[in-house]
């Protein structure tokens, strides 16, 4: 599904390397988790994969379903099936949440040569999915993320993911800021999307989320590299002992 090889990147504005050779493959149908200390480059990896400005890839490659994505425009990557649930979802005053989602869904369909979704079908679907995530009608009407609580923003990310049905879902600390019940809602939302032809990359600091979304593989990122890969037990080890041992091993 997603194949990242020896990916290096630096900041565009200054000579600061952030990713220093990331190797990672997420297979279709699998859930991979990335953990790692603050500043190790987890969000940067998600941004580089989704095409945010400000980073320059200096080496390596990344492909989605065999296609090079690093050369694509941001919106082309989305249409190709890449989705990033943001660590900090952006507020957009003046753009209605519903308008935004319908525009996005139909833009992706158009880019893939599919027929656009009718307003009625869209409404029906978004309402049903919003209900599952306990997102009320008012939140759909309001401007994108404006005045949403931290947890509401994260649930709104998952709603978008459910509507867009991407191939590869990257979730950046979707669990942060969620209360226990919301965490369960989000996890249910994600689990409902799990399918043999979809891959997940879940960035998190806590075992908590992984109790609900069971990962197949856990990676530890440190200083711009994946320094350790293991099964679900690796997350438990981090939870218990922190990163000190792992960092020592990799040094």
């Amino acid at each position: 599904m997603l194949e990242i090889k020896n990916l290096h990147c630096k900041l565009e504005e200054e000579d600061k390397a952030i990713l220093k050779g990331v190797d990672l493959t997420v297979e279709a149908g699998k859930v991979h988790a990335i953990m790692g200390p603050n500043g190790s480059g987890k969000s940067t990896l998600s941004y580089v994969l989704s095409g945010r400005d400000g980073y320059e890839v200096t080496d390596g490659s990344a492909t989605l379903l065999g296609e090079d994505i690093l050369g694509m425009e941001v919106e082309e990557r989305a249409a190709a099936g890449m989705f990033l649930a943001f660590q900090y979802p952006v507020e957009i005053p003046g753009v209605g949440n519903m308008t935004f989602m319908r525009t996005a869904v139909n833009a992706q369909r158009k880019a893939r040569g599919q027929e656009e979704m009718s307003s009625a079908d869209f409404l029906k679907e978004v309402r049903a999915k919003a209900k599952d995530l306990q997102i009320d009608a008012d939140m759909l009407k309001r401007p994108v993320n404006v005045g949403f609580s931290g947890g509401e923003k994260k649930r709104n990310e998952i709603l978008q993911m459910a509507m867009l049905e991407p191939k590869m879902c990257i979730m950046d600390e979707t669990d942060s800021g969620l209360d226990v019940d919301a965490m369960k809602l989000v996890a249910d939302g994600v689990n409902a999307l799990r399918s043999p032809d979809r891959g997940f990359l879940v960035i998190t600091h806590y075992q908590r989320l992984l109790d609900h979304i069971k990962p197949d593989v856990v990676h530890i990122m440190y200083d711009g590299r994946i320094v350790k890969t293991g099964g679900p037990e690796l997350a438990l080890e981090v939870e218990k002992n922190g990163y000190a041992d792992i960092m020592k091993e990799s040094a």
Binding site: P89, V90, P93, F100
Partner: protein, 433 residues
Amino acid sequence: MMALPQVKQDATDARLSTLSLPVQDGWTRSARADALSRLTARGLPAARDEYWRFTRPTDLNATEVPGAAPMDESDEAPIFDGIDALTLVFRDGVFDADASDDLRLEGVEISRLASVQGADIHWAKDLYGTLEAKGQDPVWRPFAALNTAFAADGVLIHATGTGTRPICIRYVHEKSDSDPILHHVVKVDEGAAVTLLEAGAPGARFNTVLEADVADTGTFHHVRAQGRNRERRANTHTFGRLGRESVLKSFTLSLNGALTRNEHIVEFTGDNAVAHVAGAAIGDGRIAPFHHDDTVFVTHDAVNCESRQVFKKVLKNGAVGVFQGKILVKPGAQKTDGYQISQALLLDDDSQFLAKPELEIYADDVACSHGSTTGSIDEDMLFYLKARGVPHRRAMDLLVLAFLAESLHEIESDDIAESLRTRLENWLDRHAD
């Protein structure tokens, strides 16, 4: 009276020599004569005048109309087409009776200045030129005086009840050297209500004045779209006087225009009244110059009145936006709630926004705020939209419309606001580069 500086004297004399007063002026005679004497005493503006610092008056002063080709706007439905309104058509300032509806509307008395001004008396006699004259202090507005003196025609609207339909003045610009001067008067009686729409550019260069007197508990809604003609020059004035518990809302959409100066002069004379003046302007300097100036002066001379000024401009390819807005709170105008925001979204480094927001307050128990910002497209928002698959162009348009949304919110009617939004979307489609 001090003599005018020679340049002003010359400019004023030259311009006046090209204008003539109507032969049959009837009840407008004294107002026209007074306006003319104001104009000769104070003269046309010069580039060095403080009030004209950001907008050069040269093209407005010029004795010869700077040519402006008419615009074929047949590629989109006429604006307000979907609104059931009583429509009056003016072609280059000349009334077109065949294209217009009958001037009959329940709750409203409508007449035309040119056809009734020969009489000795008319209800508009007390108003014509009155608000304009009052609005000449503390700032001189020469083109408004010129308008009162020389207006060839206009629509006189007297709301005695609630107008069952909006009145729409549709301007058609066909001649590249037309220079219409139109003067409209709106009188809203106690408890009455009326909506006035204006659509299109009245001419190559135009000077329009609207005087609106809203009596106690009356309501006046005014929405205007100034046409797409790129080369036109315009100076418009909207004078509003508000009685107790009355409401005035005026919104202007401006797409294109080599030179547009829209002035709003609003005065509260009765307590607990509400006035909102707002505008959205969008200009692309690539094909023709774009210069848009909103100049607003709101005077609070009553207790507990609310005024809002919301002006937004989107500028690209060397377009220039100007905002001069003032809130004056007179002694005793306690509990005034005055709000003013002027914002520009610059889509490139070539465009510029010049703003002069002012507050002058002589009462102690008031809440007034003003803000002016110049910004560019927010990169985080743009990335977020694109990361969801929205193409760059569409994402930009969404953000432009979002930026303008706050001003469109000031429009009372959703249908009317929607028709303006469609025009904006069409404009963005045509300027997708």
